[in-house]
Subunit: 211 residues, 2 copies
DNA sequence: CTCCTATTGTCAAACATTTCACATAGAGAA
DNA sequence: TTCTCTATGTGAAATGTTTGACAATAGGAG
């Protein structure tokens, strides 16, 4: 019987990983739920509850072994599998990701980007070849990337998602303005909404002002 | 008696705004909670419950007036106040935001960016002047921007947040790897975590694969 | 080896969010 | 105007998440 892990817990795993990694970097080898809670701004109880979804990683009277816990969470997230990723839309944001974002830290390897601007097609950015969007289908059929990063214009995002789903792509990391909702359960979508995020901040500062 | 609005509701407001804007663009003037729910992938009940936190915007037997509801939500979010924003760190991501992101849509106006690279300081990107980080304090004291966008190296994010808080900045839109937790209740932070988001997607595709 | 202390794993209570169900108000047709 | 039907607003139930409390277990001191 595999108990379903709640999405609230899943969304916290990367944070745990990040903080544990940081502790690891600074040479800390053990940590109690209480201390970790203090650092992360959670309650100790929540942390213990979360970690227990996956098994008893801790030891009573001792706490958690930082390296071990970090490795376990990395394993749960699947960060060590180095899945292939492609990127669609080598505009400003796309190029920023190609140049700076550490895909490998998140379990991916960026193998190619696609665009239709002749000025960039055929070039390479940070070791990643920029290919013509026309060659997308054949490329995907040959290399079977697991996910696609959408840094393309909103208007084409939906049809592109459908196209990639047919080609067997498993996930979309979507930066386009309009969110993509998976048509079937076959594809996973993670939307990153800059506007939503900034609007929320707008609400927060205006809300405070009124008081 | 002002009832506290739950943060789950607040986080959905930008989505409502986005969908209503879209409906508005396509000339739709009225919408029922049921139809909107279908579009957004929510339940009709949730939508009615959410909107009712702020007052009865709908009419029985008719539904909601698209323009009116959009305006009301915009008002609640504070999108029409055009608060001033500055950006710290004109690297790849910073420049991508300066060039492409529609701050005005989210209720802000980007008035300046700061960096320490002499190659960009003194130039202008998309009409936004890039200033030397040394002039930050005096600039903030003179122009009183409401928020700062953090597209700077993680290492300096925390100290910079403290510095800006002292200067009276009300909010931080943080893209740095390490999240910023507000030291006091005086400043609001909205963290955008690319890595967390992609790791979550990593989990999702690996999770599906096992079945 | 024994005791004391720290800290987990876990159950239950508190709290938050979502869904359901339906009375009721208004729109629109005749 | 009157009737019917649609769709809201809302209280209550169901579900999901977080917190609190504590028994039990292992570490480490003496």
């Amino acid at each position: 019987m595999v108990r379903k892990i709640s999405s609230a817990v899943i969304r916290r795993l990367p944070k745990y990983y990040r903080y544990l990694d940081e502790l690891h970097q600074s040479g800390v080898t053990r940590i109690s739920s209480h201390l970790l809670a203090q650092r992360m701004g959670f309650t100790a109880s929540k942390i213990r509850q979360d970690l227990n979804c996956f098994g008893g990683f801790g030891q009573q009277g001792y706490g958690y072994n930082v390296d071990n816990l970090r490795a376990e969470i990395g394993e749960i997230l699947g960060l060590n599998r180095s899945c292939k990723a492609i990127l669609l839309g080598a505009g400003n944001l796309g190029r920023a990701l190609i140049n700076n974002f550490k895909f490998s830290r998140c379990g991916f390897e960026l193998i190619a980007a696609f665009d239709l601007d002749p000025a960039v097609v055929g070039t390479e950015i940070n070791g990643v070849p920029i290919l013509n969007i026309d060659s997308l289908d054949s490329f995907v059929e040959e290399h079977h990337p697991e996910i696609a990063v959408f840094t393309l214009p909103s208007e084409v995002a939906l049809e592109m998602a459908a196209r990639l789903e047919k080609l067997g792509v498993k996930g979309i990391w979507n930066f386009a303005r309009h969110e993509i909702r998976p048509a079937s359960t076959g594809i996973n979508v993670e939307n990153v909404h800059f506007e939503d995020s900034l609007m929320t901040l707008c609400y927060m500062i205006n809300d405070k002002k009124e008081k």
